[in-house]
Symmetry: D3
Subunit: 326 residues, 6 copies
Amino acid sequence: MSIRRDIRPLDPMESPRFTQISTFGRLPHDQDLSDIEVAFLGIPFDDGTTFRTGARMGPAAVRENSRLLRPYNMFVESSPFDQFNVVDYGDVNVIPGSFMHTAEAISETLGAVVDQGVIPLICGGDHSITLPVLRELSRVHGGINLIHFDSHFDFWDSYWGQKYTHGTWLRRSLEENLLGTVAQAGIRGPQFTPDDLQYSAHQNITLQTIKDFHVKGVEGAMDTILQAIPPDGPLYVSWDIDVVDPAYAMATGTPEVGGLTSWQALECIRALVGRRLVGMDIVEVSPPYDGPGAITSLLAANLFFEGLSVMAKNHANGILAYPRQN
Amino acid sequence: MSIRRDIRPLDPMESPRFTQISTFGRLPHDQDLSDIEVAFLGIPFDDGTTFRTGARMGPAAVRENSRLLRPYNMFVESSPFDQFNVVDYGDVNVIPGSFMHTAEAISETLGAVVDQGVIPLICGGDHSITLPVLRELSRVHGGINLIHFDSHFDFWDSYWGQKYTHGTWLRRSLEENLLGTVAQAGIRGPQFTPDDLQYSAHQNITLQTIKDFHVKGVEGAMDTILQAIPPDGPLYVSWDIDVVDPAYAMATGTPEVGGLTSWQALECIRALVGRRLVGMDIVEVSPPYDGPGAITSLLAANLFFEGLSVMAKNHANGILAYPRQN
Amino acid sequence: MSIRRDIRPLDPMESPRFTQISTFGRLPHDQDLSDIEVAFLGIPFDDGTTFRTGARMGPAAVRENSRLLRPYNMFVESSPFDQFNVVDYGDVNVIPGSFMHTAEAISETLGAVVDQGVIPLICGGDHSITLPVLRELSRVHGGINLIHFDSHFDFWDSYWGQKYTHGTWLRRSLEENLLGTVAQAGIRGPQFTPDDLQYSAHQNITLQTIKDFHVKGVEGAMDTILQAIPPDGPLYVSWDIDVVDPAYAMATGTPEVGGLTSWQALECIRALVGRRLVGMDIVEVSPPYDGPGAITSLLAANLFFEGLSVMAKNHANGILAYPRQN
Amino acid sequence: MSIRRDIRPLDPMESPRFTQISTFGRLPHDQDLSDIEVAFLGIPFDDGTTFRTGARMGPAAVRENSRLLRPYNMFVESSPFDQFNVVDYGDVNVIPGSFMHTAEAISETLGAVVDQGVIPLICGGDHSITLPVLRELSRVHGGINLIHFDSHFDFWDSYWGQKYTHGTWLRRSLEENLLGTVAQAGIRGPQFTPDDLQYSAHQNITLQTIKDFHVKGVEGAMDTILQAIPPDGPLYVSWDIDVVDPAYAMATGTPEVGGLTSWQALECIRALVGRRLVGMDIVEVSPPYDGPGAITSLLAANLFFEGLSVMAKNHANGILAYPRQN
Amino acid sequence: MSIRRDIRPLDPMESPRFTQISTFGRLPHDQDLSDIEVAFLGIPFDDGTTFRTGARMGPAAVRENSRLLRPYNMFVESSPFDQFNVVDYGDVNVIPGSFMHTAEAISETLGAVVDQGVIPLICGGDHSITLPVLRELSRVHGGINLIHFDSHFDFWDSYWGQKYTHGTWLRRSLEENLLGTVAQAGIRGPQFTPDDLQYSAHQNITLQTIKDFHVKGVEGAMDTILQAIPPDGPLYVSWDIDVVDPAYAMATGTPEVGGLTSWQALECIRALVGRRLVGMDIVEVSPPYDGPGAITSLLAANLFFEGLSVMAKNHANGILAYPRQN
Amino acid sequence: MSIRRDIRPLDPMESPRFTQISTFGRLPHDQDLSDIEVAFLGIPFDDGTTFRTGARMGPAAVRENSRLLRPYNMFVESSPFDQFNVVDYGDVNVIPGSFMHTAEAISETLGAVVDQGVIPLICGGDHSITLPVLRELSRVHGGINLIHFDSHFDFWDSYWGQKYTHGTWLRRSLEENLLGTVAQAGIRGPQFTPDDLQYSAHQNITLQTIKDFHVKGVEGAMDTILQAIPPDGPLYVSWDIDVVDPAYAMATGTPEVGGLTSWQALECIRALVGRRLVGMDIVEVSPPYDGPGAITSLLAANLFFEGLSVMAKNHANGILAYPRQN
């Protein structure tokens, strides 16, 4: 148990949900990580975007739309704030116009977080940010097992001569040997060529396209994925919100029709109970393309809560992200 | 048969759907209820809202988006306007800032409606209005059997010392002994604690969470519910529109991801054929959060029509809301 | 193989997706159809609309939201631009305020297209435009087999004395003997009377309502339809976008809740592999009612791509729209 | 004084502004015009539109956004509901797709209104409706003096062979000899040719372009106009809402930048105190292009109230629209 | 000079404007007021609203849209953060549904702020909150001189029996003898009766309607007001954002056309240089009614900055809000 | 006169304004510049943006909203398409993520345009693109006289170590000696420090802040500017759309309240009659932040037309952008 104060979200019975400073889950904003197990970290970089921009506004919008989160998860049967101290760490000070400098800033900020044994919940920004995230996680945990939820493969070698974009990060991560076993989930939409399918197979990636999800159901598709993932290895989950159908998540940079429902997305995360989650990201939430209800940001906030609930349940069952946590 | 004029919606072949005064279903606005079987009644009170406001604009928006309704229901096989005289009664003159005075106004207005043997279709406003509605209905019909569609339990004892809000009405209704058998459908989302689950069980409420709907289908979940409800007792159905997923119903005060589809919501109502429906409400439609297509209000209008169709079919089969109807 | 230049969409690696003139799929805008197999043709007429207008803005919006299309279809396993030369022909110069003159303009423009053996992808506009389209197609191909995706029957005889509207085109098409076998898919929503159901049966139309899709799945419903359609006859597919649920396609003139998902719509088109598609339309996309993500137009663009993919696969398998194509 | 009941808007102290059926100014909806002096009449026809459609939704939106009107005009010093009985007559049953039939319907409906000596406040719809309106008014009052507020001349002879559109009504009105003296106010924006300027001069129209308003002020420009208008003749004011700048009135079919402010528009109407106003229209409000605050419809509602206030003040001063009124 | 750290907004050269937690002006969120001169305080209560709700979301939106503020005011020639330590204090924990309890909470929270000699910048919420604010200020400073910018008088005695609403606070303030000299600026729009004008005169209020501003200019109207206000007395400025025209500030509960421009609003505040400002509020910003650019919240943020700049300049010139400040 | 075809916008009498491919002013899209005098060129680069992104979507939106332009300017008395052949050249193939490569692409594309003696109308993208534009123009014309309309100085040396952003281009242009005389117009909003004012003075820039425009009027402020600009030198006008007030132009990256009206903006351009305009840009239109009426893009389209009208009038008067034109 922590010797530090028991950190809780602001009590809505004391301060109504629409009041007070906007932080993730109405948790304290704090950069002191002593006795903290999980930290929400925004990385509002979107220069890696190839179509609609705006993901730089993602962390602010996800925070604002996380005001409705409550502490008990009835389907996972988990009370994360009883298990963990969680804070909103704030954002990485990204450097717009330079992926290279931003990657350094991510490494520095996130490095300090993970070196203190804190599990990051990372909110993009565009998908290019996952590369430096994986660098830090693999530095600490070794080769990271990855489940990549997305409608796109993100295998491109470069765009317009740019090696670091939201469509190339996974190829870079493979080239840099940051990854253990990799699975991809939800892929769909028009492709440039069949090459990416072959590349995926060539890399021994376990692929479950959106068709697998629609035909086999979430349970079936996630079973296939989880059988491929080493059960005890460090697992990172990266969510491009565009894996969800635009009806549920229209606010994203390269939307593809035919995707997951919100319930299916939640079920995908619940399937991870029992796995050693060392972090999770949700990227490509682009608030200018949301409607007045901001339902994309609302969904992202709930997916973070679902991940947090799974982490807490695992932790309660002795499945620790960091071996030294106990 | 009525001795009164045969009331029909405005004929779109004579006056196109976008013309003329906005009433529910393009029915006459009338407060004379002689020979009327069903009345649409707005209760635009939203001071019971704990997060996003705006439900006071619900009745106006539902009326405006009911212009597309047509008289024959092909799935229920019911022509309600052949069976019933239906009017738009207008709204209760609510008293913003005072639930107590509003509850009195609801009792007075609705009391007069039900005392004339008219079935109310009630459009909120927030969910707090269902408490005074149930008071009137139980006064006339005795203990009301209730199916409560919602993503939230609404069991809270109070908010900030307020006993009457959109999150407390059901506890109040139970405390006031207004209810017979109760079922809850579609519950989901983060909870404060597991207590509400226990309270539900303690109250002998038949609970079908959203997971039951997703796993068993609407038919399975509704079967469970309907087996619990006394087949001949007076049945009231209360719809918090947030039971539907935000993709289909973003315009609501406390949206929760992972909900019903629009088709599932329609099917839930169709499952009520054969039951003695004494009224129905749809609450928490908050138009400022709808998109330009106003699809939440459109859905609410269609759910009312589906309820009306079921009522008409039942009536044709001799299942009368009021024993004296014939 | 074509002796003409190999026509391709603009390469996003050279010109990013958000750059350059907005044409369908970033294909060339060209009215020279020599060596062209497929042409996208806009018909922005919306005077046949009975409720919300705006479908005249459909072609421009579908073009703008087709920028994300890529050339390989992984589920159909088809590369249409390897198979076909495709261009954006531009729009018919419609005559607002006069269906009669517009119908003549459609006949003239589309007539020239089909007389050159080019398959049209037709973007409405409202559904009234399908009547003159069918006139031209039947002139060239004989009686057209039709699959009509819609939430409405479109069997009305007239509106306000107008014989040519978006609700009467199908009755006119039947009266003008333009059609071979007809199927209707996705019908739902309140009806005026049961008459349309009887008319459908009387016309030997194969009807699969939305309930058939929800109960039997897309595969089951489409099987029923395809068994009725002569396998070798010319097949035209007409999509009223309102067959899709408003959550996925809110931008339409007479939305009906309870419809297809985007994935189901895609699957409906994929079921047409092996059928001799001589054209396809998507109508009733009304951009003013879309949200900021423009997901209705995005869906329409993808449905066109899915149709094009099926056409290309068929063509590769020797199933030619025009016998003289080879 | 009227022998009929004293008609007042619904009292917001009894029924809050957001409650009850949506009528203009929360006045009764009534087609009995006995003892009525002024009637609000919607004409939701928009087939005369040449660019963005949607004006058919104008009357419903103006009604909804007239809920904030109150009975005393402090700048005109007029209490119209003390002076007049005013009702919302409803809408003309327009015939979409046919200007000719719609014009007949307008003549019939409006003819009955003016034949009862009632002053119409007419809400479009597009500007084509003003032609049949002027026919009826000139039938009753003789040649109508017209002040035409617009950013466009509306002098075109035809569009695509159509003689009756929102850009031709004024030429038609001149050709049909319906008009007395004519003034145009606020004209601006790119023109096809200088011809319209010459046509305006040739017709002895008093032209005050938007530049006159910006340079001389509303007072100066209106003085020029009012000196040209016979002081005792019947005066009709026709407002195309696009005369106001899109910042204040974005919801219109052919917006032109550089227009009047909302205050200037109000001042234009106030300048008419002392003139014999026999009617007024506001056209081209196209609600689908409004933002969430619906400020264009709100402005239109206020312009109607300003006109009504001027009519009432004039009436109090013995300036009667109909000689027989007293 | 302060012995405390020199408080500055987050440096956008270090952390870009779109990064980090959303506080007013990117200032620290802190409830320790030692060595603090000015505090931003949100009061997100909107149960006093009589038409469109949503002002409870005001403080969050104003914070989010204050990210563009920079530290030097070139027109006032003032650098407030060189002069003052300013923090974002957070929000009052309002009690939705109860003005009485909320008023107590405001008194408690604001009382602590002003008792420490800190100048409040108060962000509503609806206008009802100004009453308890004035109670605290008059307790500390004595009778408060008030300039009330609004399109409405707010003199109503009660609404539906409710004495404390956004339309009654000023009458209550006068009755409670909280005020010294009062001026009202920008009043316009339809009134219930002429009574409010008489009440204003009877209370010796200096009234400058919007017409005064349009006719005399801001300088002329503000001169009239400032001549009435005792030059050395404590001055409070209360801004209902609806005094600004809906084109500039559509996101408000009871918008009135014909208002101030944004520049005029800024000039009104600049006219206060040399006056002893003891606080300022901006109320009635209702974010659900803003467009995608959120320009109403942006304007409110800038009006706060303008007020802060004037306060800082005055302070530099020895005009202290609290005598003990030095 | 040109020996080439007489290029005209599509005739709206033949093809209604909402039909056909979206190009600027409905002009031909052509990259053959023989006999062309003016070309519209999009540069959709927005990686230089420091707050809200989205300007990459500017050219597409300005094209779409230029459909209403007509050929005669009644206030400038100019018919540009009688004077000039104008085409839409398409967009520069920008390289997202790299200003350096994009600047090269701009130089290459624009260099070819200006080397053919064609006047560019340049549509951003963000303001960083003006630097490479000025490089090409100064290469051809020598030191460029610049009028810079903006609410910001754009004098910053770097952001986060980035030397090329939308806030540094003017300093770079000065450092690179690309400019002759410089004037800045409309500057306002909070500043970092007074330094930019001093830098402006130090650079001998003629500064007319927004206050000059509000106090002296457009005519007065533009007189001051034009007296400073050499009458016969090459003049370039660069418009950051944020110089216009957010009420008229909300869709921009760093909006500042208190700006120009749309009419004032038009008048600023009209004041340039008689000056040797060698090009013009409008930048920072960010369509995701526009409302449903797209009025910011509409304004930009009209400002381009006004500039084109002035260029045509000048050309008619023998004032040639390129000496060799005649």
